[in-house]
């Protein structure tokens, strides 16, 4: 009786036509390769995956309901706690959608500073992925280098925002405070410092034959699969599609800046790896140009003391570090949102894992999962 219950809970082994017996392997929710509390229920035929079923929800916090019991501005700190590694871009999406709905103008200096801080945040997010991904693959050293570099960004952002991770720096109509000359000097120095570091990563890691053998031709995700599942960000750009919200649906001052959208068409883990490595270089270019073009002036526009959003629904997407992050808001004209929907990239990117991992060997599937760059609270919300 107990055995039957246990078997139905974990899934009993099945005899396959070829005489092999399957077994169920539980991965997570506490497992270093899932980067947080994600559980994956794997049905295995030896070393090969027959079915991998992600079981999310372990750190679900009902962020969307929280939006319905506080004012528009009080929801701002929540948006930096969804994907905690990419907090700037997430708050950017939220202020943009409310500004769009309420018709709030933002001074150009504020938009430039938003772009500078967002891109620095993107680099720091990619550095965490870089370190953690290589850790998944068995390389310990790069993590130490990556976190060393990331520390410099965290120090910079801490000096203007007061936080090191869950930044709440943007406000409806601008920013909570201007930056000082030290920040700008520091950001310029960081760009100069980071370029040789990226070259060093190329030598140390990217050209490494062991890394290439682990990633090349592994974990195929093509453009059609991305479209059917709504996968975006480095995943779709590693499948040969130049889909980047900054370019496709331009927002903020991105149209005024010169940067490339890295695209690789190999559809494998290596392609997604290379996209992110190239993106760090492009983000450095953006930061450099935005500092050079940074206009003088106020960092806060004219905003009513209590922000009210006209009745209706509004939508805004941004390119976060993991892909397309969008917020759909529904207002009934009151001071409190009627509905806030968060469309998060990790959720959609993970949803294709079951199909993409079918027939893969387990260690390769972990490389595939690492190449999706998952942040679990971004899935669970």
């Amino acid at each position: 009786m107990l055995l039957e219950k246990l078997q139905s809970a974990v899934g009993a082994g099945v005899i396959l036509p070829d005489g092999h017996e399957t077994f169920v392997l539980n991965l997570g929710p506490q497992h270093p390769a899932t980067h947080g509390v994600l559980r994956v229920k794997l049905t295995m035929d030896g070393e090969y995956i027959l079915r991998a079923e992600p079981v999310p929800g372990y750190i679900h916090r009902m962020q969307e309901k929280m939006g319905e019991n506080r004012s528009w501005s009080k929801y701002l700190p929540n948006t930096s706690r969804i994907d905690y590694l990419s907090a700037m871009t997430y708050t950017h999406a939220y202020v943009l959608v409310v500004e769009r709905a309420a018709g709030i103008e933002v001074p150009p200096r504020a938009e430039y500073l938003r772009v500078i801080t967002s891109e620095l945040n993107r680099i720091s997010s990619h550095l965490v992925w870089f370190g953690a991904f290589l850790l998944d693959l068995g390389g310990f050293t790069p993590l130490l280098y990556a976190f060393d570099d990331r520390e410099k960004i965290l120090d910079l952002l801490e000096s203007v925002t007061g936080s090191r991770l869950t930044y709440c720096y943007y406000r409806f109509g601008g920013l909570c405070n201007d930056v000082d000359a030290e920040f700008l000097t520091g950001a310029r120095e960081f760009v100069a410092y980071m370029r040789p570091r990226l070259a060093m990563y190329r030598q140390l890691v990217t050209d490494n034959i062991i890394l290439r053998k682990r990633l090349e031709g592994i974990g195929r995700i093509d453009a059609e699969l991305c479209r059917k599942y709504g996968a975006t960000g480095p995943v779709i750009r590693g499948a040969g599609v130049a889909n980047d919200v900054r370019r496709v649906e331009p927002y903020s001052v991105y149209p005024l800046l010169d940067f490339k959208i890295p695209v690789y068409s190999e559809c494998d883990c290596m392609a997604r790896y290379l996209v992110r490595m190239d993106e760090m270089e492009q983000s450095l270019r953006i930061v450099e140009q935005a500092i050079a073009q940074l206009p003088e002036g106020p960092v806060m526009g004219k905003v009513p003391r209590v922000v009210k959003v006209p009745a209706g629904d509004y939508y805004h997407a941004v390119e976060a570090a993991r892909g397309r992050f969008a917020i759909r808001i529904v207002s009934d004209g009151k001071e409190i949102p009627y509905r806030i929907k968060l469309r998060t990239p990790s959720f959609s990117n993970l949803s294709l894992f079951e199909e993409a991992s079918r027939g893969m060997m387990l260690p390769d599937a972990l490389a595939l999962m690492g190449s999706l760059d998952l942040v679990i609270p971004d899935i669970d919300r």
Binding site: P56, G57, H60, M62, E64, K65, E68, V97, R100, A223, C226, R227, K228, Y229, G230, A231, I236, V241, A242, N243, V248, E249, P310, A311, G312, D313, Y314, Y315, H316, A317, R324, A326, R328, V330, D332, G333, Y338, R339, K341, R343, F347, S348, S351, L352, E355, D380, R381
Partner: protein
């Protein structure tokens, strides 16, 4: 093929109007008037006197709304509309719900983006709040599976034909739906 708004509009008009409409393209609606239908008591701006009902689909001002095309569907039109977008290369963005408690309705909202063009399409369907049920889109877009499961979690909307509507983000024994406006707290 990169779809155009006009072609999309024509295709949707053909799909949504049973008798062939006399080739009249929907006129441009501004941000407020496209909300006029059903969404909260709106100070409806120039309502055309009785005749000319709101067309079931319309081109929307993307700059102010964040999407470019909006269509109101009956439940049985969801899958054909999904196929129509699938054929034109759209990707599934999200599926979610909105609980209109006062009106006694559940709204299911489908978002689609296009990977290489700027177009963003919204499909909506309103059903009675009690026993809300619509067909699943997961056979057209497998990515809809998770979004629909989440929407079932949060709103209790059933998606007929969905392979597995067991609790997804909520605990596995959850029998409550927290985004319903009359939800008072989990026991």
């Amino acid at each position: 093929m990169t779809p155009t708004l006009d072609e999309l509009n024509q295709a949707f008009l053909r799909l949504l109007t049973p008798a062939p409409a006399l080739g009249t393209a929907c006129e441009m609606h501004d941000a407020t008037s496209c909300e006029g239908k059903g969404v909260s008591p709106n100070p409806a701006p120039t309502p055309p006197p009785t005749s000319a009902p709101v067309p079931p689909c319309r081109i929307v001002e993307g700059k102010t709304k964040g999407y470019h095309f909006d269509a109101d569907l009956a439940p049985d039109q969801i899958v054909p509309a999904g196929r129509l977008l699938d054929e034109r290369g759209f990707a599934i963005d999200a599926v979610t719900g909105v609980d209109w408690l006062a009106a006694g309705q559940m709204e299911i909202v489908y978002d689609f983006y296009h990977p290489v063009s700027v177009l963003h399409v919204v499909l909506r369907c309103r059903v009675p709040r009690e026993g809300a049920e619509v067909p699943t889109l997961s056979e057209v877009f497998p990515g809809a599976n998770w979004h629909e499961r989440e929407t079932h979690d949060f709103f209790g909307i059933r998606f007929t034909g969905h392979p597995d509507l067991s609790p997804f983000l909520l605990p596995e024994d959850a029998d409550y739906h927290p985004l319903r406006k009359d939800f008072t707290g989990a026991a």
